[in-house]
Amino acid sequence: MTAVRRLSQLDALEAEGVHIIREVAGEFERPVLLFSGGKDSVVMLHLAAKAFAPAAIPFPVLHVDTGHNFPEVIAHRDRAVQEYGVRLLVASVQELIDSGRLRERPDGTRNPLQTVPLLEAIDGYRFDSVFGGGRRDEEKARAKERVFSLRDEFGQWDPRRQRPELWDLYNGRHRAGEHVRVFPLSNWTEVDIWEYVAREGIALPEIYYAHERDVFLRDSMWLTAGEWGGPKQHETVERRTVRYRTVGDMSCTGAVDSTATTVADVIAEVAISTITERGATRADDRLTEAAMEDRKREGYF
């Protein structure tokens, strides 16, 4: 047995994530974990399972469903929910559109529309704390996000009103109607996520690995053809070997050319990538220089 008592960076991040998740379970009445089936939310669910073992995870998961889903991701979502034994709630963009409470955007992109069903679900279920898989390395507005992020009764984020976060003393006190978004993966990077997936043997949707797909090029991203706006007349569909670095609304999540079929391949690819994860694959972040900041202010993840 070794006398050196030090944690590797992955062990340190895991211990921190579990600590954050347990704080929420201890401090709040009605937590919920946002679960899309994407890699960050799968890692978050895995941490939650470890945090409370051998007991069950003491809160449900919520999928904000844009209706533009990759079938592989929905299948994985359902498998994971079964495997980890959690209750799945779904807040549907499509239902709100059908009932006339939400209008389709001209560009067909539904990621920004998720804010409405998310806030309705938080209100309806009276959730007081919402786990999100956001990481500070993703985007510059996220770099200033707290681990415990206070939202007002309209779900809005005001960067000037955030509480200083000292030591690991997370302050979750809030007034009635307010809620707190909690980001246990704040200090993880994309490579950390993948190394952890490899180490823990965590299953992810197949589309994270290289596969053949019919895609067309738009804004230098490979998008999957579908009824939500593609391809247009001048865009041609071709069959390519691609994988996804993020999964979101199908209409605005791009694939990247890749031959990475295993976790090790993906780690090697991510480590030498010259493009950020969101820059490579998210049309919605390219809308303006402050696109993410604006969506966060409105109550987005």
């Binding site: 921190e16 600590h19 201890g26 200033k144 990077t189 490579a280």
Partner: protein, 440 residues
């Protein structure tokens, strides 16, 4: 040249390294115009942590503002108001890694009124990087930042003497500043101080060694970050464990299971160790330790584990398990240095909440006894209110006793927050100064 370039060439080496890949958290601070954003941008850029699309966006934005080339400072200005006003409002966290270490950098803005940001950044940092402009040397802000870092218990101070290019890389200028800063650090009681001659704008001695400082044989900034010791040795500290949550599966398989989940704040605990439950003072013995991957013989800071106890004692969230021989004595009085982080002022008679570990208790401010002048580094007797960014000493009377350690000895169980009872906002960061040893 560096490990960084090899890292990009061989990703697997970058990921696995040779030994354990460690995490170092550090904070940066500097006055306005010391070039801190540029230095952080340079560090990210030269460690190849800035990816092509981000750099392209910075180049576009720089051009739009009429700068020549990429203004690396724009890499770190996150929010719209900051870009518009050319300032940094809030602590931002940055990430980069090398084959040996991953780094979490708390980038704190340097305005006089933002002592609270420095305090926030320093609260989780093991190293503070303080910037000065080589043309101006050690100024009030430098002393303020060094003092805040020292007060927060940051053990490693690094002084970045930036803009050396503007003083012709003059050794005498650098030496004078270093000597000046050494005396500040001595006054603050910080032992590990390193001064580095840099030009963030040109990249001298940040990642790559400068050709302009042949007289300098110390490390580059990155070399220093790679070498500074990470963490404390848990074996040298007494065991402390704030209970976060009680795990009770209530299934047939585990019907008697009762695990106290938490993160080891300090020290080491082994199965069979006698522990005391605070504040009740009940004694018991550790029966089992469940780690995140199964049973463990021992756990150490900062692991997250779940502890089972031999006796059926009453333990719940807010309690603290401590080594039986070296436990703090619970007391209804608390004396601490606080840094006020909200706009609400703090004065004698105020009712607040005290958050310590996982416990929150009501309290009353009995007295504000002194206020620390961060520039002269002297405390003055004081009985008035403390306002935002003030650091001062308070006496608090607690509604229920807390087992608080001296912050200078045990950072995580010596720290506390003052919280507003009405709106829940964080009022002040507290560091306990008076504590009772178990012998007293």
């Amino acid at each position: 040249m560096t490990a960084i370039h090899e890292a990009t060439a061989d990703p697997l080496l970058a990921l696995q390294g040779s030994g354990p890949h460690e995490l170092l958290r550090f904070a940066t601070a500097g006055s306005v115009d010391d070039g801190k954003s540029t230095l952080v941008g340079r560090l990210l850029h030269d460690t190849k942590s800035v990816l092509a699309d981000t750099l392209a966006a910075v180049e576009r934005a720089s051009l739009a503002r009429g700068h020549d080339g990429a203004d690396l400072a724009l890499l770190t200005d996150g929010l719209r108001a900051e870009r518009e006003q050319g300032i940094t409002i809030d602590v931002a966290y940055r990430y980069f890694s090398t084959p040996t270490r991953s780094y979490v950098l708390a980038d704190t803005p340097g305005h006089v009124e933002y002592t609270r940001n420095m305090v926030t950044g320093a609260s989780t940092a093991e190293l503070a990087l303080v910037l000065v402009d080589a043309r101006h040397g050690v100024v009030e802000q430098t002393r303020r930042h060094a003092a805040a870092a020292a007060l927060l218990g940051v053990r490693h101070l690094a002084l970045a003497v930036n803009k050396m290019d503007l003083v012709g890389f003059d050794q005498q200028v650098f030496t004078a500043i270093r000597v000046d800063f050494d005396s500040v650090a001595r006054l603050l009681g910080v032992d590990d101080v390193v001064a580095l001659p840099l030009s963030a704008l040109r990249g001298d001695n940040v990642v790559d060694r400068s050709e302009h400082t042949p007289w300098y044989d110390g490390p580059t900034l990155l070399e220093h970050l790679e070498a500074v010791p990470v963490g404390e040795d848990p074996a040298l500290e007494p065991f402390r464990f704030p209970v976060q949550y009680v795990i009770r599966p209530q299934t047939d398989e585990h019907h008697d299971h009762r695990g106290y989940a938490g993160r080891v704040a300090h020290g080491v605990v082994r199965v069979g160790d006698p522990v005391v439950v605070l504040p009740s003072g009940r004694s018991t013995v550790v029966a089992a330790i469940d780690g995140l991957d199964g049973p463990l013989d021992e756990a150490f800071a900062p692991q997250s584990v779940s502890i089972r106890l031999r006796d059926d004692v009453d333990v719940s969230r807010g309690d603290l398990l401590a080594a039986a021989e070296e436990a703090a004595t619970p007391s209804p009085d608390l004396v601490g240095d606080v840094c006020v982080v909200s706009d609400r002022l703090l004065a004698a008679g105020d009712r607040v909440l005290v958050r310590h570990g996982t416990r929150t208790v009501r309290a009353k401010v009995v007295a504000v006894t002194s206020r620390l002048d961060l520039v002269s580094l002297e405390s003055s007797a004081y009985s008035d209110a403390l306002v935002v960014n003030d650091i001062g000493r308070l006496t608090l009377r607690l509604a229920e006793p807390l087992a608080v350690d001296a912050y200078s000895l045990l950072r995580r169980t010596g720290a506390f927050l003052l919280v507003d009872e009405q709106d829940g906002s964080t009022l002040a960061a507290g560091m306990a100064v008076v504590t009772r040893c178990s012998e007293d």
